[in-house]
Symmetry: C2
Subunit: 343 residues, 2 copies
């Protein structure tokens, strides 16, 4: 079956603009909260039945054009050997990396053996979807995972990660390479299990200036994407605060570049060129606005996307925020589906 | 006396590149921590003797080319009628703005009467400096202060502030206008008391896309700057994540635009044109690097500044981070002073 999401990723004609939303399975949905009341976040990631159930919720409730696997970018770090705590106040590694010896102790996990719950969730989601819409698998980008593993938690300024990686090129390469090798196996296992596209989240890309991103970010993304065994499964790359990095992100081999809400899509197109599709980029906070104002802003994103030419997947410029009114999210999906697609 | 900092703000020739650092008076300095051990942050702001003392510390210790008044951007909001708590985990307004009626209750403060401790600190710093280097006064930008006053504290996504302001243009204008009126009086009082330059911090500028910044950010900055009574005192505007906003920031009447570390200075110059000086933009995290690596990065910023042409004030791309090694900050000042200036 031809899916408009996949077609748009390859900049082929579509009947209407496809839409899915980062964190579409999440706390703003009462159905999700009902499940989370029973299990912790990490248990949810590790229980294929439940992970599959929350993955399917937004497809049924919102009518989006793609499902994205419910999981967390950091589970692969746990499989590499890091103790991981995932709680509502944010993820934590109680023993962050400090030395080359810490990195040498990490191993490249066998995904089916050590992250089997992810692949099992993918297989269950595919059965549950019965080809209604495609399923997107995902992982974090090497730089973002490395930054988390060195900081031990989220950070505003990432000085520990930068001091360690920028101060020792050999150590940086050892860590980023080991993560990249792990992610190649991990995403290939997701693709083999049934993921019909993959998104790589470089959440902390914007912590690096362009010269540092060219050393610590983009090359490892390129190596990761080059290592994937794909048959018509597109790759999306997304980061936050990437305005200055879009030229690099367009050249790493991804089919689609996700744009945060800071860069208008026509400006983004001028930076990425004609070889990739664009995904984005409504400000997630605008989902809290009254419907007429939301309507105007959705129309504006669609108009700029039209100007940017074929190959647009509608999304937010970041994840759905907790507390977002569900009726506004439903209205958003309807508004996008009512719009004639980019040609 | 001619000061190289002032000369560079006006893009006039200088004997060497001037340098000062955002948060140069702060927790990384043991001399600052010794004073903070005795008084709270807000008490320090409100005690002119102590505020003047910490303002002078980095001039004596580091040899920077300008002092910046020790204070907080939110004290003006307190004078407008908001209860303010300033603690180490971040500032808080326990009763954030929710309705037009809340905004109507705020008043435009008389700075000498209600913020007299700020002007008194300025007068004491000027006496302590004895014209060694100029003193920079400062305030927050209207959008940033409005965002704080609606959120009640710092935020990652500012959905409350955006929902309130973007959802009701009239309310937004009422709030941003009242803040702007307050800031005009406040900065004029700082200038009259002896501030030899002023910096406007639009810390949350980057939360807005360019179209929203053109509505809620830039126009109020322009009105604020137009309202200042100046005689050779330059205005600097600085925000974080402003890559997409630099074109607007160059046109609001400021003499200097501060650049965060994400945008190389030569790229920044292409966006702002020839009419303003540039301030910045070393990544503050690089002050944690070993000296040879720090040296390379300082040289790179200076080389890009040379390429950007006359009018460069060296600074970080954001404030000095707590825990930054003081010896590295001293080394930074020496490295910049050893460099022949931009022509």
């Amino acid at each position: 079956m031809v899916h408009r999401f996949i077609e748009a990723c390859y900049r082929r004609p579509v009947d209407r603009t496809p839409i899915w939303l980062m964190r579409q399975a999440g706390r703003y949905l009462p159905e999700y909260r009902a499940i989370r009341a029973k299990v912790s976040f990490l248990e949810l990631c590790k229980t294929p039945d439940l992970a599959a159930e929350v993955t399917l919720q937004p497809v049924d409730i919102l009518g989006v054009d793609a499902a994205i696997l419910f999981s967390d970018i950091l589970v692969v770090c746990e499989a590499m050997g890091m103790q991981l705590i995932l709680e509502d106040q944010g993820p934590q590694f109680p023993a962050p990396l400090q030395l080359l010896a810490d990195i040498e102790k990490l191993h490249v996990p066998d995904p089916e053996a050590e992250l089997g719950y992810v692949m099992e969730a993918i297989r269950r989601v595919r059965r549950g979807l019965a080809d209604r819409v495609p399923l997107i698998g995902f992982c974090g980008a090497p730089w973002t995972l490395a930054a988390y593993m060195v900081e031990g938690k989220t950070s505003r300024s990432f000085e520990k990660a930068k001091a360690l990686l920028m101060g020792d090129e050999k150590l940086a390469h050892a860590l980023l390479s080991k993560i990249t090798d792990s992610l190649i196996l991990y995403l290939n296992a997701q693709l083999a299990a049934g993921a019909q596209a993959v998104q790589i989240f470089d959440s902390w890309a914007g912590a690096l200036g362009p010269e540092d991103y060219a050393r610590f970010g983009a090359p490892y993304l390129a190596r990761l994407i080059a290592g994937l065994k794909r048959e018509g499964q597109p790759v999306i790359v997304f980061g936050v605060e990437t305005g200055e990095l879009l030229v690099q992100l367009a050249k790493i081999g991804a089919d689609v570049v996700g744009i945060d809400w800071r860069v208008p899509l026509d400006a983004a197109r001028r930076r990425v060129g004609a070889s990739v599709a664009l995904q984005g980029n409504l400000d997630p906070a605008t989902l809290f606005l009254p419907l007429p104002e939301l309507q105007k802003r959705v129309a504006r994103v669609l108009a700029l996307a039209d100007r940017a030419g074929p190959g647009h997947i509608f999304n937010l410029g970041h994840g759905v925020l907790p507390g977002t009114p569900v009726e506004n999210v439903k209205a958003l999906v309807e508004l996008v589906h009512a719009h004639p697609p980019s040609r």
